[in-house]
Amino acid sequence: MSHTVDPNSKPPSKELWLGTIAMTPLSIAVAPWGFLVGAYALEVGLSPLEAQSLSLFVFAGTSQLVALGLLQAQAGFVAIMLTTALITSRHLLYSMALRDKISPLPARWRYGLGFLLTDELFVHTPSNDGKPLNKWYALGAGLSFYIAWNLATLLGILAGSAIPNLTELGLEFAVVATFTAMLVPMIRSLAIACCCATASTVAVLGAVMDWQAGLLLAILSGMFAGFIFEQAQEYLQ
């Protein structure tokens, strides 16, 4: 085994708890969003069981929300899969960044932590600071977030079945609030700003022009805009 044992690591139960505590702000912040996903799924026509299954098995807020929007717009299977593939592609980067730390672990740990590897968990997992990863800490952070997300979805399903048109209350602002808070610290270069501006413009254009593949186009053009900007900057230097 190549991974070393951190001499500062505490007993598993303590690390689980520390991970849970560290994740608490995001677990709270994500609650309205989980609630929205539950209530919205019913409105789109999913059964309560299907709605909960989305959060239990897919466990990816953006993909869930976007897929529900596409289902509501009567988009086909292929369109949903292509969009999901593009939205979820960023997770490839997270697993790549954590490869050295997680791949030496036993299979059940790899599968477990892999399943729990959300944007939020990645933000809370030291990826390249040289310190060994404490698997119990990561499990505490990931699992507590998973439970919070699913409880929020359950509440959304319960409320959604009791109160019709719940989603018209403007719950989707929870997504705007959460994503904005995650996005702002990410904009550290002109290239990233260029990526965001392009993705936003194409996405709004797609919404106004009612393009089926609007989101897909927006994400791709944003990624290429940032990349080309960065390459041009390097070329000019």
């Binding site: 989305l54 697993s95 790549m96 602002f173 959460t178």
Partner: protein, 105 residues
Amino acid sequence: MIALTLAAMALLVFASRYLFLEPRLPIELGPKLRRLMGYATPAVLSAVIAPMVLSHQGELVTDWQNPYLLGAIAAVLIMLLTKNTLLSTVLSMVLFVMLKFWLFA
């Protein structure tokens, strides 16, 4: 049909999260592709937020009295000033609810 879509989505998402955690995987992404993928997260976040803030039912929003727009601006400002995720999320949501159901109602 929904069940199939759900299962395929679950597989796709898990595969993307797990792929590079598999020790037997011999490949690595090249540096160019890696950098391109580095823009995926900000691109996804922007592409999801922007239409929610700037359009409503397929129409461009030009009115400043838009709770989504003002709420998003508040979230950006609070985040820049405090760098506190929870504070920014909660305060901007409170502002949004006040604007939507009280001031602009």
